[in-house]
Subunit: 506 residues, 2 copies
C-alpha cells in the first residue's frame, strides 16, 4: 500500500491505496476511450451541467477535503479553503464558457466562387481531442490536481480524464476523485468519464497508452522531460502540456525603491514566502538598485525573514532539493546569505532565506529554481545591467516591474526586453495569486512551459480541442452550432464575426 | 552547385545555386532573429501592407515564375498558373485577416473581485512566436513552398521566415524568394525578414538552430520524423507543424453508386489523377459496393485509366517509391490490377493505375500512400465492412462520403465513425481542391499531421503565435488593441465578446 508523509511532523501516513498495475491502467484507458463518444456527443450545454455538478460536489465535501489535504500537505486550512474555492470556481467558469460557446470557434464559409474558381461550403468547429491524461501537482492539492484546472478544462472540451494522483497527497486525490466521480455518475455521465491511477509506473503507462490523446502536467522540469521522452517514443506523438519551471524575475527600479520601500518589502516578502514559497509563480530573483533605498528594502525583507518560523514543505524530496540548491549557492560562493528564519527542526520544514548577489554575476546556476521560501536579490548599478542579467535567467511564466510614472521611457524599453522571456508581465504587483479569468495566460517560453497554450483561464480548454471541417454536409449531419439558422453562439460567417443572437442578415 | 531534373525528359538541369553551409544557416538565423522585434513591433496593419506587396510581386513575376516551375516540375502551365493565383490569394487573405484583427484574440478582464478576493486587471493578446523555419514541399512549388501558406501565415503573425528550398525545384524557389524578398525590402521590411537555404544539411541545421521557434513542413512521413528527431534533441522543444501522409478514404454507398455511376466515375478519376496524383488530399482508397453499379463505376474508371497517358512525377525519388509500392501491392498479391495507362518511357513519368481488393482484406500495408496516380478500390458487401476497413487505414487529412438522401441514417452512423479518423469530411464531392478560406481546416490526426492546427486557411496563423498577458499595465505600455478606448478589432471584455466598432457600454 502507498504511504505518504505528514509534513508538519515528518510522520508516515498509511493509506489503503495500492499502486495501480499497468494492466489496470490499460483497462481505465479503455474505459475512458469507451466514454469518449458519449461525452462528446452529449454537447456543450449538457457538459456545462456536468461541470456545475462537479463544482457542487467539491463544495459539499469541503470540510473533509480540506482536513485531508491539510494533513498531507501542511498548507493550512486558510490556504486550502481558498484553493478549494478556486477549484469550484474553475469548474463553474468552464461551465459558463461552454454555455457561451465562443470556444467552439464556429466558422461557416458558404459555397461561392473565388479567384481559383467555384468553392464548396465548408464549416469548421473545434471538437474534443480524446481521452486526456492529467498529472496532479504537489503544490496545489486541489486547483492543479484531481479537482484542478486541467481536469475541468479537459472535461469542458468533452474529453474523458484519466488522472495520475500525486504521491504527496494520495488521500486528498482519492477523496477528490470520489467526490467528482460520484457526482459525474449521478449526473448520468458515462462510466470512464473520470479515472485515477496511483504510482510512478502507472503514470508512465498512462502516457504511453495509445488511447490517451494529450497530457497535462504541472511539476518539475525533470519530471516533465521524463514524460516527454515517453511521448517521443510513442507511435503517435501527442501534445504534452507541461508547466515546469519558473524563476519569475522581479525588477524594482530606482524610482519605485525610493517611493515605496516599505510597501515593496512587505509585498515581496509575502509573495516569496506564501504557501512556503512553493508556487510556480514565486519571484525567485529580484533586481534591486544598489542604492540607499535598495538596501533599505532588502534590510526590511531580511528583518521579516529573521523573525519568520520554519515552514513545512510538501514532501521530503522538495525539502532535500531546496536544501541542496541553497547550499550550492552559499558554499560555492555564488550568493551571500543576508538572513535566514528560525529553524525548529520539526517535520520536513525549512526556514525562509534571502540571498544576495551582484547583478553582473548572474548565471543560470545562480538562478536554479529553489522550490521553497528563498529569494535571490541581485543588486544592480543601472538598468542595462538588469537587461544583461535577465538574459541569464531561464525564461519564465512571469516577469514583474515595479516603477514610477516618471520612468516610463526606461520601463517601456525594459518591458520590451522582458516580453520574449515570459508569458505574463506584472506591473507594480506580485506574480503570485494568479487570476482565473477569460484573459489569463499561465504559460511562457521554455522551460516555463513547452506550449503556446495556458493552463489557467478559459482558453486552457483549447489545449484539448482539434479543428474539424464539414464540407457540403447535409444540414442534419452538422452539429447544431454549424447550422444556418442557429444563432446561440458567436460565429464567423463568410468572414464576418457575429455575436450570439445575430443572424447573417441582421 | 545544385542540380535538378526536368521530369518530362529526365534531363538534368544545372543551376548556379550552392548548397548552404551550416555557418551561413547560422548567419541567416541570426539575421531573422535581428529582424524579429521590428517585424513584430510594426504592427498588424503595417504587416497587412507587406503581405499585399508580396502578393503583387508574385503577380508581377507570374510569367517567369510559371515557366521556371514548369521546367522543374512538369506540372504544366494551367495547374501552375492556378497555383500561383492561390499563392497570391493566400497572401492577400492573411492581409485581410490582419486588418480585421480577430486573430489577436484580444481579451480584457478589468480589475474587480472574485470568490477568491480582489483580482488585478489582466489583458491578453497573441504575439508572434519568433523566427520560423519553413520547408517547401515537392508537390506545390508555389502554394506550399517559398511563396506558400506557411510563409504567408508566419509573416502575418509577425515572424521572420527562414525557408528551406525543396530540392525538386531550386530555381523556382530562388526566383520566388527573389520576388518576395525584393518586395519586402522595397516595402521597408527589416533585413532578415526572409531568408533561404538550400540542401538537406542546411535544412537540418535550420531546425536545430536555437533562434528558430517553430517549423512548418509539408512532406513525407519519414522526412517529418527526421525533423521531429532533431527537434526532440534541441534544448528547447519547439512546435513542429508537419503535414505528412494521408490516404483520404472515399466511400461510395449503394445508393450513390446506383444514382450517379457516371458522374462518380468521372469525378473520382479526375481527383486521383489530377496533378499526377501528387496531392496530399488525393483519394488513395475508395470503398465501392460489390454490386452491378459498383462494378460499373470501377469499369468506367478503368476505361479512363486505360486511355490515360503516362504523366511525369516530380522527381526520381517519388517515381521510384511509387513504382515500389505499386509493385509490392501486385507482386505480393495484396491487390489486383484492373487497369493501367499508356507508358511511353519518357522522362520520369508513370501511368495511372486502378487496383482492387476486397474490403475485408484491408490492412495498413495495402494502404501505404502511393504518391502518384494510383487508387485502390475496396469492394464491400455492407457498410459494417467499410467501418471495419476504415479502422485499418491510417488517419487522414480527409474522408469523403458519396450517398443519397434516403440513406441518411446509415450515413450519419458512418460519419460519426469517420470523424475521429480525419480532419475534414467531404460529402458528395472530392477531397482534392482545398478551399482557402476562414473556415478551412487542413490537418488531421497523426500521421496526417501532428498538430491541432491547420496549414491552410486563416487559422493557420495561430501556429505561429503565443499568448501574452499584461497585468495592471500602464495604458501607454499596452499594445493599442488592448487599450480601453480602442474598438477597431473584435475583443472579449469582462467575458463579453464585442464586435469591432462596439464599446463596452454600447
Amino acid at each position: 500500500m502507498i504511504t505518504t508523509t505528514n509534513p508538519r511532523t515528518g510522520d508516515t501516513i498509511d493509506t489503503d491505496i495500492a499502486a495501480t498495475a499497468p494492466e489496470q491502467v490499460a483497462e481505465l484507458a479503455q474505459a475512458a476511450d469507451a466514454a469518449f463518444p458519449t461525452l462528446a456527443a452529449n454537447g456543450r450545454v449538457w457538459r456545462a451541467g456536468l461541470l456545475d455538478a462537479l463544482a457542487q460536489a467539491l463544495e459539499d465535501d469541503r470540510e473533509a477535503l480540506v482536513e485531508t489535504a491539510d494533513a498531507e500537505t501542511g498548507l493550512g486550512p486558510v490556504r486550502l479553503n481558498g484553493e478549494l474555492t478556486r477549484s469550484v470556481f474553475q469548474f463553474r467558469m468552464f461551465a459558463d464558457a461552454l454555455r457561451e460557446g465562443g470556444y467552439l470557434e464556429a466558422t461557416i464559409d458558404h459555397a461561392g466562387t473565388s479567384p481559383m474558381g467555384p468553392v464548396p461550403d465548408v464549416r469548421r468547429m473545434l471538437l474534443p481531442i480524446g481521452p486526456v491524461g492529467v498529472f496532479g501537482a504537489s503544490n496545489f492539492p486541489f486547483a492543479f490536481s484531481v479537482a484542478g484546472g486541467d481536469t475541468a478544462s479537459a472535461l469542458a472540451a468533452g474529453c474523458p480524464v484519466l488522472l495520475k494522483a500525486h504521491s504527496s497527497h494520495p488521500l486528498t486525490s482519492k477523496r477528490s476523485f470520489e467526490a467528482l466521480s460520484g457526482a459525474a455518475e449521478q449526473y448520468g455521465a458515462p462510466a470512464g468519464t473520470l479515472g485515477i491511477v496511483y504510482g510512478t509506473k502507472a503514470g508512465a503507462a498512462l502516457v504511453a497508452d495509445p488511447r490517451i490523446k494529450a497530457v497535462g502536467f504541472t511539476g518539475s522540469l525533470s519530471g516533465g522531460q521524463a514524460l516527454l521522452d515517453i511521448i517521443n517514443n510513442r507511435d503517435e506523438p501527442i501534445p504534452f502540456y507541461g508547466e515546469l519551471s519558473s524563476l519569475n524575475p522581479l525588477i524594482i527600479t530606482e524610482g519605485a525603491a525610493n517611493a515605496r520601500p516599505d510597501e515593496i518589502a512587505q509585498g515581496l516578502f509575502a509573495s516569496f514566502t506564501g504557501s512556503a514559497g512553493q508556487l510556480c509563480t514565486k519571484p525567485g530573483v529580484a533586481f534591486v538598485p544598489k542604492s540607499e533605498h535598495g538596501h533599505q528594502i532588502v534590510e526590511k525583507i531580511a528583518q521579516q525573514v529573521r523573525e519568520a518560523k520554519a515552514v513545512p514543505l510538501l514532501n521530503g524530496r522538495i525539502t532535500n532539493s531546496f536544501g541542496l540548491i541553497r547550499q550550492r549557492l552559499v558554499d560555492e560562493g555564488k550568493a551571500e546569505i543576508v538572513a535566514t528564519g528560525v529553524s525548529d527542526g520539526a517535520g520536513i520544514g525549512v526556514a525562509p532565506s534571502v540571498l544576495t548577489i551582484d547583478a553582473d554575476r548572474m548565471t543560470p546556476e545562480v538562478t536554479e529554481e529553489a522550490f521553497g521560501p528563498l529569494i535571490v536579490v541581485a543588486y544592480y548599478d543601472d538598468l542595462g545591467e538588469v537587461e544583461e542579467g535577465l538574459g541569464h535567467i531561464p525564461k519564465s511564466l512571469t516577469a514583474t516591474i515595479h516603477s514610477e510614472d516618471q520612468e516610463a521611457e526606461a520601463v517601456s524599453h525594459l518591458a520590451e526586453r522582458v516580453k520574449d522571456r515570459a508569458g505574463r508581465l506584472v506591473f507594480n504587483g506580485y506574480p503570485t495569486g494568479v487570476r482565473v479569468s477569460w484573459a489569463q495566460h499561465h504559460g511562457g517560453p521554455w522551460p516555463a512551459t513547452n506550449s503556446q497554450h495556458t493552463s489557467v483561464g478559459v482558453t486552457a480548454v483549447r489545449r484539448f480541442l482539434r479543428p474539424f471541417v464539414w464540407q457540403d454536409a447535409p444540414e442534419a449531419l452538422l452539429p447544431e452550432e454549424l447550422r444556418d439558422g442557429y444563432t446561440a453562439v458567436p460565429r464567423r460567417v463568410d468572414g464576418v464575426l457575429q455575436l450570439a443572437g445575430e443572424s447573417a442578415d441582421a
